[in-house]
């Protein structure tokens, strides 16, 4: 038997680290959120979310994050499935092909979308050469959503692909042998078995999409104000750290809430599936 007590102490440096760089900062942000600039206790920074401006940007963020996640899922699942069916011996290659774009700086990739989508951009040039009507995409909510889908797609593909590669092929074959057609096999076997991947994909896309402010700054043309932008501007423009912290806490609560909803979905469905 490994000496568990002794080995577990390997985690001590990390535990200290977590206290200082994870837990303590949260207390700081909470401290700011619960005080006003005179330093006395207040809840107004939290209730400020009820302000129509904040509510509106929160709602917009939720909408953008929802569409981003949904589109990512719809695009990513077939990709993962196709890649899985290719039965590549070299799985690392797949991961690498999807991570590679990240080595081109994220800011530049978003900039490239500006060039592609602008009124006289590459996309519209192609469309008008083909005799099709041009599109007004850049600096709209659509452009922001597209930018996020682009940025976060790999985070959806990889977990799903991972989950699919863990499925025992014999289970799928068995289903087929028992007479299930492709669709039934997919919905009854493959999909439920890859659910963990889907859920972590959704989480990995939804959370950053909900709080992003850079994509909306660059592709929203200052017209798309997400909750992330509001928070950022409280720190960088309006100098109201307390309000910024308060809204951050609200955002955190929202993230945790959506996470626990996802986990509920996970649990309830797990009940019926002996894995």
């Amino acid at each position: 038997m490994i000496n568990k007590m002794r080995t577990s102490f390997l985690a001590t440096p990390y535990a200290i680290w977590v206290m200082i760089c994870t837990i303590l900062p949260l207390f700081y942000i909470l401290g700011y959120a619960l005080t006003n600039d005179a330093g006395s206790f207040t809840l107004s920074n939290l209730t400020a979310i009820a302000d129509p401006v904040h509510l509106k940007s929160l709602w917009l963020s939720i909408r953008v994050a929802f569409f981003t996640t949904a589109i990512c899922l719809l695009l990513a699942y077939p990709v993962a499935l196709i890649l899985h069916n290719l039965k590549l011996t070299n799985k690392g290659l797949v991961v690498f092909l999807f991570i590679l774009p990240m080595w081109m700086n994220f800011m530049l990739r978003i900039l490239a979308w500006q060039i592609i989508l602008s009124n006289n951009g590459i996309l519209n040039s192609i469309l008008s050469t083909l005799g099709l009507p041009t599109l007004h995409i850049l600096y709209t909510e659509t452009a922001v959503t597209l930018g996020m889908v682009y940025d976060f797609l790999p985070y959806m593909i990889l977990p799903i692909y991972n989950a699919l590669s863990k499925i025992n092929d014999q289970v799928v074959e068995a289903a087929a042998d028992l007479g299930a057609n492709w669709w039934t096999t997919f919905t009854k076997v493959t999909l439920p078995l890859s659910k963990d991947g889907i859920i972590s994909g959704i989480i990995m896309v939804f959370v950053p999409a909900l709080s992003s402010f850079v994509v909306s700054n660059l592709l929203g043309g200052g017209k798309v104000l997400l909750i992330g932008n509001v928070i950022e501007q409280e720190f960088t423009l309006a100098r109201n750290w307390n309000l910024g912290s308060g809204l951050s806490i609200i955002l955190m609560i929202f993230v945790l809430l959506s996470m626990s909803v996802m986990n509920k979905v996970d649990d309830s469905e797990n009940g019926g599936m002996p894995v």
Binding site: A11, P25, L97, L100, N105, L108, R109, V214
Partner: protein, 264 residues
């Protein structure tokens, strides 16, 4: 029918890759554009590549980026790997606490992590390069832990016990039995930490001090005022370098697998 399906899936994959790589193509083309403006094609040039090494601003930002990325991801890998081993052998209850805490930076929005760290740092240490490194370690350790832990969990304890029963010291047994098993996890954790750190903007933006610029924060200010075209050149080089590097690692990896197969 099968052929059709195959064709359709290939087409679909091609479209997705086009979607992922089109912007990169645009940027590579821009790096050869002989014009300061990103919207005017001024003819083909290699001058941005030639000028690159003499552009102090960019070289300094590159240096800072490399320093921050390497320091933070190496440190995060060491911290994360030891932590993962520790956590794995913890009592279940403590494991849950530790994992919960580890999840925080992953689940938290970047902006919240960045701001909370900034609020902390401004109290204790002047903002500068050091604060950025600390922040980067903070958000990349979880990636290492979550890459190493599953490897540990799939590890059969019997092997380790057998080794120690046969007289191996725990250190030796760890090195011979556990390490080879978890190494791929450590490596992928390290690479993930590296990628995350390299690509991070938000957290750096909030925790950096005066005059400290990584490529990301530099780009953010330049994006508005027009980007120095040398940056496209630099990014293209970095991208191709990463491409080559990962290709080599991959082929070496698969070549080794082949050898193992043949030996069997």
């Amino acid at each position: 029918m099968n052929k059709f399906k195959k064709g359709a899936s290939s087409l679909y994959l091609a479209l997705i890759f086009l979607f992922l790589y089109a912007p990169i193509l645009v940027l590579i083309v821009l790096s050869f554009n002989d014009s300061m403006s990103r919207t005017v094609w001024g003819g083909f040039t290699l001058k941005w590549y030639a000028n690159l090494s003499s552009n102090d601003n960019i070289m300094e930002a590159l240096g800072t980026t490399i320093k921050i990325t390497l320091t933070s991801s190496i440190f995060a890998t060491i911290l994360g790997t030891t932590a993962a081993i520790g956590i794995h052998y913890m009592k279940k209850r403590h494991t849950a606490i530790m994992l919960g805490a580890t999840n925080i930076p992953l689940l938290n929005a970047d902006i919240v992590t960045g701001i909370s760290l900034m609020l902390l740092f401004t109290r204790f240490t002047p903002l500068g390069e050091f604060s950025v490194i600390l922040a980067h370690i903070a958000f990349s350790v979880p990636y290492v832990i979550f890459n190493v832990l599953p490897r540990l969990q799939s590890l059969s304890e019997a092997c380790f016990e057998a080794a120690t029963d046969l007289g191996a010291t725990p250190m030796y047994a760890f090195y011979k039995v556990v390490w080879p098993e978890i190494f791929p996890g450590v490596l992928s954790g390290f690479l993930m930490a590296l990628t995350m750190s390299l690509d991070d903007f938000t957290i750096t933006y909030f925790t950096k001090g005066a005059g400290v610029n990584t490529l990301s924060t530099m780009l953010y200010t330049q994006l508005r005022k027009g980007i120095q075209p040398e940056l496209y050149a630099l990014s293209t080089i970095l991208f191709l370098l990463a491409f080559a590097l990962l290709l080599v690692i991959n082929f070496k990896g698969s070549a080794r697998k082949e050898v193992v197969k043949n030996e069997k």
